[in-house]
């Protein structure tokens, strides 16, 4: 299967354009159920044609945030605007947004085509027009032969596509997707991710997706909002979230990371020096820390940015940005191997190495004394 590649994607970043008007705007939105604060003071702007993911563990308030946009919950305080118009008091059936439910919520007593036509019938659309639109939707999700089937006569992947077609049929301004791929197996999920992205591009829709799967969010989104305990912790592009997490929470939630706590001090040149004597670690970066004051912080570095060698690396500054340890465990994942290296204080640091040649014997093996090192700009000092 070869796919002709289209023109290179133009950089899409309306959030950097101060003149751009957001399609959806949450203004200091709070939702509490009794004493429990599900969403606490969230402000967020999502732009037209954006693919935005709300990412967080279960119970972090991401679904509540989405349900408030759909109209199933009213904010306790704050306001939500769609195209600049406040949504307060507008019932769900009058909002120009459609939602794809986690359980798909297909009407079991209706055939696939009736399910897709449901929303169109509510609008009083003409019969011929409905028929044409349903056909178009079935073609879009490649389910034409299944039009007469009932939902319980379909497989999980087919049901997911019916749910998608039904929520797209009314051509909503914004499509909300609640864990859209949660019920699919891994392979199908990866395929569907790209289908969803293509669809969003082709139709030029704004997608707001709720997920707890970071890989899914990274693959598909223009921007990601990471949530924790009802608060938006960071809003940024996938690359920024991965490379520039603003807190230990985000760094730890997205991907794999080594976090080592130590004391920091500002360097005269504008950089930062972090020391963790127990682990035998001295780090220097060019990054300036917030406030520039000394205190406790964490050094965060992704395992793939850590080099592993048997010999002591010849660094520019001896003893800085390197650490000695002993190989404690090796995880072979096929494409990469993860080395877990025990440091002087017993803490473990991970380093991934791409398996660039077929592995016959490892140059570095269990119990070897090794050196881990990294460049000045590979890691981050996180104070939050």
């Amino acid at each position: 299967m070869s796919k002709t590649l289209g023109p290179v994607k133009r950089a899409f970043a309306p959030w950097t354009d101060s003149a751009a008007k957001p399609a959806i705007e949450f203004r200091n939105v709070t939702k509490s159920f009794g004493d429990f604060v599900a969403v606490g003071g969230v402000s967020l702007s999502i732009y037209e044609r954006e693919f935005f993911s709300l990412l967080g563990p279960s119970g972090c308030g991401k679904t509540t945030l989405m349900r408030m946009l759909a109209g199933f919950e009213e904010p306790t305080s704050g306001e939500i605007l769609l195209d600049g118009k406040p949504l307060a008091g507008v019932p769900p059936y009058r909002r120009p947004v459609n939602m794809m439910f986690q359980s798909y919520a297909l009407f079991p007593h209706m055939s696939v085509e009736k399910n897709i036509a449901f929303g169109l019938r509510q609008d009083g659309m003409g019969k011929a027009e409905i028929e044409a639109r349903v056909k178009e939707m079935l073609r879009l999700v490649k389910l034409e032969p299944f039009a007469k089937r009932k939902p319980n006569q379909l497989s999980g992947g087919q049901r997911q596509r019916v749910a998608l077609a039904r929520s797209l049929a009314k051509r909503p301004k914004v499509l909300l997707l609640d864990e859209p791929l949660g019920a699919l197996d891994k392979k199908l999920r990866e395929e569907t991710q790209f289908e969803l992205m293509d669809l969003q591009m082709d139709l030029g829709l704004t997608f707001l997706i709720v997920t707890h799967d970071q890989e899914e969010a990274m693959t598909m989104s223009d921007r990601i909002g990471v949530m924790n305990h009802g608060k938006l912790v960071q809003i940024a592009t996938p690359a920024e979230i991965y490379e520039q997490p603003n807190s230990r929470y985000v760094a730890d939630f997205i991907g794999n990371i080594n976090l080592i706590e130590g004391t920091v001090a500002a360097l005269p040149g504008g950089g930062t020096r972090l020391e963790a004597p127990a682990a035998g670690l001295v780090v220097e970066t060019d990054q300036a820390i917030a406030g520039g004051s000394a205190g406790v912080a964490s050094f965060a570095i992704r395992p793939e940015k850590v080099r592993i060698s048997l010999d002591r690396p010849a660094g520019a500054l001896d003893g800085v940005n390197m650490i000695a340890g002993e190989v404690w465990d090796i995880g072979y994942l096929g494409d990469v191997s993860i080395y877990r290296v025990k440091l002087a204080n017993g803490a473990v640091m991970k380093a991934t190495v791409a398996n660039t040649t077929r592995l016959v014997s490892r140059p570095i093996s269990w119990d070897d004394k090794v050196w881990l090192s990294w460049s000045r700009d590979a890691g981050l000092v996180l104070t939050d």
Partner: protein, 273 residues
């Protein structure tokens, strides 16, 4: 483990079935008795069924019972379904606990008390007792059974189905008629049948609330039996048993069919074909 039944199983099964069905069997057998005496067998005959057709009083009573049953079951189903929807879907409204308690109170209330209180009400309001008072009484006490049956179905119904309908632009009323009602229909029908059956065999409430010209079948049978059991009564009862049995058989065939359909559907979905 042995596959067959032990002598203990056989005996207990036999005793159980005899206990349940022997009285009914005797009733059915003696409805075909030639003799006028209920306890003496004098050969096979269907004469009592014939004479039943000419018994205008009995036929009138059956007609009244049928009309009361259909009417009260229908009203009770509408009211009971509405009560169930309110109780399940609107979790927070003032007086909810009181309301739910009050809906289900007639379930545990002795019939005699319900009957007496209704009688007092009708007398106080100076309502002429007859067909309509029985219908109202039956609606009152069968409504809560419908509410219980429909409520249990509603609780298991995925709330997001209704949300999806509203999300797609259906008003709450349209959502109810196009999504909720079709999905709880089996429970609504079951509730109607339960209400109808309860109305058919009610004697106590009917006795309290009946008036001139509104004698139901149970009242008729009961008053006749006090004058002595006739084979005609046996014949009426046999017909009732036959109707009920046919209903039960049809219902269970329906359930089996649907189950088979479900298994076929699942196979279709699994093969993806």
């Amino acid at each position: 483990m042995r596959k067959g039944l032990s002598w203990f199983n056989v005996t207990s099964l036999t005793f159980g079935f005899v206990f349940l069905y022997l009285p009914i069997l005797i009733l059915v057998v003696f409805s075909f008795n030639r003799s006028r005496l209920v306890t003496v067998w004098a050969g096979f005959s269907t004469q009592w069924y014939g004479s039943l057709l000419n018994n205008q009083q009995m036929l009138d009573a059956a007609w009244v019972t049928l009309r009361v049953g259909v009417l009260s079951a229908t009203i009770a189903t509408v009211l009971g379904t509405l009560a169930a929807v309110t109780l399940v879907r609107y979790v927070r409204f003032p007086g909810r606990t009181l309301f739910s308690g009050m809906v289900f109170a007639p379930l545990v209330m002795p019939d005699v008390i319900t009957g007496l209180s209704l009688l007092l009400l009708f007398v106080a309001m100076d309502v002429a007792r007859g067909f309509w008072t029985i219908t109202i009484a039956h609606t009152t006490f069968t409504m809560c059974y419908v509410a219980v049956v429909v409520q249990s179905r509603l609780i298991t119904l995925d709330r997001s189905l209704e949300e999806a309908a509203m999300d797609l632009g259906a008003t709450p009323l349209k959502t109810f008629f196009q999504v909720t009602l079709p999905l709880i229909m089996p429970a609504v029908v079951a509730g109607w049948m339960l209400a109808f059956t309860l109305s058919l065999d009610d004697l106590v409430l009917a006795n309290f609330t009946t008036g001139v010209g509104a004698t139901t079948l149970p009242i008729k049978i009961y008053s006749q039996v006090r004058l002595g059991v006739t084979p005609e009564i046996n014949a009426v009862c046999t017909i009732l048993i036959a109707i009920v049995s046919v209903g039960v058989i049809i219902a269970s065939i329906g359930v089996k069919r649907r189950e088979a359909q479900r298994i076929r559907d699942e196979r279709l979905a699994a093969t993806g074909g």
